[in-house]
């Protein structure tokens, strides 16, 4: 069920654009734009997202879907405007909120020469999470328990996408950013993505960039970038 534009506009107005409400995870996208050299990709994007919001970002190739998600993840700076997270009652930049953000994208690459569990354990240590057992359980949830000790580089692209989903959801993030989450996945893989989105929306915010009609049902709000 999509929220109407009027509802979204009311939320932004209520937020005053510059201040958050409540203590639950919130994401404020305040007049964000991005240009590469002379070419403006998008401009003036405003959203105020809170727990349960699942924003679907749609648009043609080159409209800036992936760029917007990179800005939300703190991987790219906005040319104009700002992105602010409220996590645990404090306002944070995307970089400061990185441990509360899960990110999955086609250009996310893990280490070929490390096993699946070594990959997840490495990032668990960086995220100050427990290593070992919990990560094996997480690999089990994406159907890869029996391949935990195999090198990541030996997996097919579909199975790699599953590991990347495990990476993105490793910290049970307050904000889950998914760029083309269903690419290369089979039917059971798509079900894993749906489950991950549903679970993440219970505790936080989900933003999904996709042009796959099968994934349009994952969102409850839409942002068209064309």
């Amino acid at each position: 069920m999509l929220d109407s534009p009027a509802t979204v506009a009311t939320r932004i107005a209520a937020a005053g654009v510059t201040h958050f409400r409540g203590s639950m995870p919130q994401l404020l996208v305040d007049n964000v734009g991005r240009a590469f050299a002379e070419r403006r990709v998008f401009a003036g994007i405003r959203r105020d997202l809170s727990v349960g919001d699942r924003l679907l970002v749609r648009g043609s190739n080159g409209s800036g879907k992936s760029t917007l998600l990179k800005i939300l993840a703190g991987l790219l700076a906005a040319s104009e405007g700002r992105v602010v997270y409220r996590i645990d009652g404090a306002e944070r930049t995307p970089h400061e909120a990185r441990h509360a953000i899960g990110y999955l994208a086609p250009d996310l690459v893990l280490y070929d020469e490390l096993t699946l569990i070594e990959n997840l354990d490495c990032f668990a240590r960086l995220r100050r999470l427990p290593t070992g057992g919990p990560n094996r359980l997480r690999l089990g949830r994406v159907g890869l328990a029996d391949r935990a000790d195999e090198p990541y580089g030996t997996l097919s692209t579909g199975l790699r996408q599953r590991v990347k989903l495990a990476f993105a959801t490793q910290a049970d993030p307050a904000v889950l950013l998914l760029d083309e989450p269903g690419s290369n996945l089979d039917a059971s893989g798509h079900a894993l993505v749906e489950a991950a989105v549903a679970e993440a929306a219970v505790r936080g915010i989900v933003v999904i960039a996709t042009n796959d009609p099968d994934e349009f049902g994952l969102g409850n709000q839409v942002l068209e970038l064309d």
Binding site: A73, G74, L75, A77, H95, R98, H99, I101, Y103, A105, D107, L108, V109, L110, Y111, D112, E113, L114, E118, D121, C122, F123, A124, R125, L126, R127, R128, L129, P130, F167
Partner: protein, 222 residues
Amino acid sequence: MSWIDGVAAILVKDLRSEFRGRAAIGAVVLFAVVTLVAVSYSIGGFGITPDVQASLLWVVLFFAAMAGLSRAFVVETERGTDLALRLTAAPLQVYLGKLLFNLLLLFVLDTIVILLFQILLPLGEARWGLLVVALALGSLGLAAASTLIAAIVAQAGVRGALFTVLAFPVLVPVLVAGIGATRKSLALEDWSSALPEIQLLVSYAGIMLAVALVLFDHVWRE
């Protein structure tokens, strides 16, 4: 799980990758062996002075290091794995993890080069303590500066030659002081005579570490 544990995670990850791929150590050791064999062959049976020995030792160390130290960042960028690090690690954790990896690589290189020198161009008697201190401090300075420069170069399109071109002028003080201290150790001079070089190496390493700690956040995130 502490902040330092994140630094260790990056170091362990790099050591595992190196052990399984041998990208850096292979380039470094191969360069050292080829250079030393070529030099020893051309010098033949002629005796060489401590001045020349010290210079040769540091030339081999410097260019072998140039062949390997940039790998830590360039490989991450070329393969696209830097994205996962940007998402999960603090910039300083990345710098320190890579610095420790490069430092270990240089210590291995120092050991191999000294052993090869003893076989191909025997150093004879030396103040070994002074030599070890000069190599250790020189390696720290090399690693501190090279790790930062490698991170800058990794963001650029033209990487291969750019690293050495950028690194050489920055690393000249290490070369000058390292060669000076090494020459004095090979000439059996007193520790006190090498104090200016040791002070320069300590200062250089300290300044480079401080500069890297301040600048790396901008280099990594821009």
